[in-house]
Symmetry: C2
Subunit: 432 residues, 2 copies
């Protein structure tokens, strides 16, 4: 069960490592030197390899239109080719609503009239060349548009979207149960653990991720949920026993000192990874935490730039990187991060929010993801849209479900589902 | 005229510097160590000092409403207190339109019902506790709301907005002429320099900032405007002579190698600062460029987080920091950066986009800014709103104008202007 940091770093087998010395607290002072732990030349080569398999399409697939469809807080993306092919995607459940004018005002022109076979470059430009609008509020829409295009291309080629960007590595995705209850972090362990246990029993989960601290970028060097986090760590291990894989998410709650203190308790209780203990953009401080602990560190959920992941991987700030499929701007970009992680002998487990069709996009991605971590985020089959309406979908292949801690990968073409046209018709096209 | 790096660093007079060794290319390897060049304890103390002068208001000023007013692409912010006081601000000329739903959906609740005297904390929470929406598209609206609140509070206290956040350091702001022509970077020097020269003559400018490279985060290690940048650097010096203060903005055009090559040419031609030669989030690489050159480095325009400036200042990645008044979320946050810069013996020259009432907000800020650089960004009195309409304003004090390379600071209360109510009335309140 245990995958302590040294054991999986031992499988790296990397040639040509630059500055590859063992990371110990004593050596921490030199880690953020210009010289990275992993060779940037290798990382850059990995990142630059084409992702979308152009060869599946003999002729151009010209994108005729990219539409944002809205109903109250909910956003859908619809793309059509000049030959009449269509793709659909469902927007991020709570971010898309704050920045949808970006779609007609600045994103459509990056895609309309372009050959969808150039999607790698289109997506790159949409994120990295929109300098003053960069960030999660932009990237969630780039992701939505990309998912719709992959849905269209997969339907055209009659393959699952995943096959457009990679080779299948699994037919079932082992999951870890994420926290999808709001304010779970405000509850004492006696109340929060039974909620998680109910989900765990329902899904026969083999791995569970808990929340530490009070989150919200508090960055406190005091225990900001006094006594509760230690209790949660201990009680969870006692409740589920040694066989359950346990992780914890710090949600940026701590400063360096407190992050290290909590980390040592996690090591004592044999947790498998320790996610984002301090605020996401405290890069050097995060490296200090990493250097002081032996538990594998995970993070990267709030990042939106490729260069940031190049640094996080190159300097091994985390052992497990967690780009969010929406926040980071889609599957092609996530694949580029996965390939960099692979080149460095590190792991990836993409982040996804609860709600919308996130679970589906996650399955498409993970099923072809190199360097995939053992378990992947799953927040139950919650397909509520941003208005709290259940999204009416029908699988184009085998039915969805989980069993024995795994979820079968969608087998239908494109994103693998039909979205009820009557539901889509309740939305209207938004023009700026 | 010359202010080479060493000369103004020589004025630091800092006690308690941690790890303060001279920065030379040879020593570059240790600069990004955990140990910063400047003492973080001092920086944190400087950043945490209250900014808004609560003592000017004996009683709470409760914010009753925060409204976003829209007409097509243009955004205005209107705040009202429960006692009937009102403040107005004009939105960012080209970013506000892409993310205005943020105002009613996520920002209003950070201000409505709160005491405006707590503005430091309200603004901090609005930016730093909106984790998944962080970035320039969020911050421009926080800035707009803050400007409207400062307008209201200044009018109430019958002082210029600047006096609410600092002590006057100048009555006239010496400016450098920024580039406000679109696509100036695409023109050969023979065409771009006469345009700048016309503005320089009209305003009797003593300092001019040019654009290098093709921008757009190209990050190329080839000269991406082949031969043109060298020619521009040389021709500008020849045209304006030794007395003109010249700076250049790289707009993220270069990789490290090319950035250093261009930087050495700038040193030969005695330019005063070198701005953002490589993409903004290439932090370690920017430090490499800084370490290899003697010309003062400037940057920070795309940053939206306080922690980022803490790092940039603490490690002296730039000698001159340039938070944008809108992109960084307003004057209080900019003041916090200015105080950190002051504590480190560095300089600040805030960035501002052309258009809207940017010039006015800049004058308010700079006139009370500690550690202000000698010259400040000015892109002519272009008060076009986001729809290309001239904003009808009337000074509440002395008339506006420039003479002899300086602009007098507004003397009227609040932001110093009345905005024509008929113009405001062409906008309508946006509710999500």
């Amino acid at each position: 069960m245990q995958m302590r940091r040294r054991s999986f770093l031992g499988t790296m087998g990397l040639a040509g490592l630059a500055g590859s010395t063992a990371v110990t607290p004593a050596a921490a002072g030199s880690i953020t030197n210009f010289k990275p732990r992993h060779d940037y030349v290798r990382l850059d080569e990995a990142r630059r390899r084409p992702v979308l398999k152009r060869e599946l399409f003999a002729d151009p697939v010209v994108i005729e239109s990219v539409e944002l469809l809205r109903r109250d807080n909910n956003c859908l993306y619809r793309v059509r080719s000049t030959d009449g092919a269509e793709g659909l995607a469902v927007g991020h459940p709570f971010i898309a609503k704050v920045s949808y004018p970006m779609v007609p005002l600045i994103l459509r022109r990056h895609f309309e009239g372009k050959d969808a076979r150039d999607l790698d470059q289109l997506v790159f430009n949409a994120v990295e060349r929109n300098l003053k609008r960069q960030g999660i509020p932009l990237c969630v829409h780039v992701a939505g548009i990309e998912f719709a295009i992959l849905d269209m291309l997969g339907t055209l080629a009659d393959v699952p979207a995943s096959r457009l960007i990679g080779e299948p590595t699994m037919s079932e995705v082992p999951f870890y149960l994420g926290h999808h209850y709001r304010n779970l972090r405000d509850l004492p362990p006696e109340e929060s653990l039974p909620l998680m246990d109910r989900d765990a029993k329902e899904t026969d989960a083999k791995a569970i991720k808990l929340r530490a601290g009070l989150g919200d970028n508090l960055a406190s060097d005091l225990d900001n949920a006094p006594g509760r986090t230690e209790k949660l760590i201990r009680m969870a291990r006692e409740l589920w026993g040694d066989e359950m894989v346990l992780m914890i998410d710090g949600n940026g709650s701590y400063g360096v000192t407190e992050a290290i203190r909590i980390g040592r308790i996690l090591e004592d209780y044999r947790y498998e990874f320790y996610e984002e203990p301090i605020p996401w953009d405290w890069y050097l401080e995060q490296k200090q935490v990493e250097a002081a602990l032996t538990i594998p560190m995970a993070g990267g959920e709030e990042e939106f730039g490729l260069h940031a992941f190049r640094y996080l991987i190159g300097h091994e700030v985390f052992q497990i990187v967690q780009p969010d499929l929406f926040y980071f701007g889609g599957m092609i970009r996530t694949m580029q991060v996965a390939r960099m992680a692979e080149a460095a002998g590190l792991k990836i487990t993409p982040h996804i929010s609860a709600g919308g069709l996130g679970f589906l996009y996650m399955l498409q991605m993970v099923s072809v993801c190199p360097a995939a971590y053992t378990y992947h985020e799953f927040k139950m089959f919650n397909t509520l849209d941003a208005n709290g309406t259940i999204i009416p979908i029908q699988s184009k292949g085998d039915p969805f479900g989980s069993h024995d801690g795994v979820i079968p990968v969608p087998t239908g073409s494109g994103m693998g589902v039909m979205i009820d046209p009557d539901y889509v018709a309740t939305h209207t096209v938004f023009e700026a």
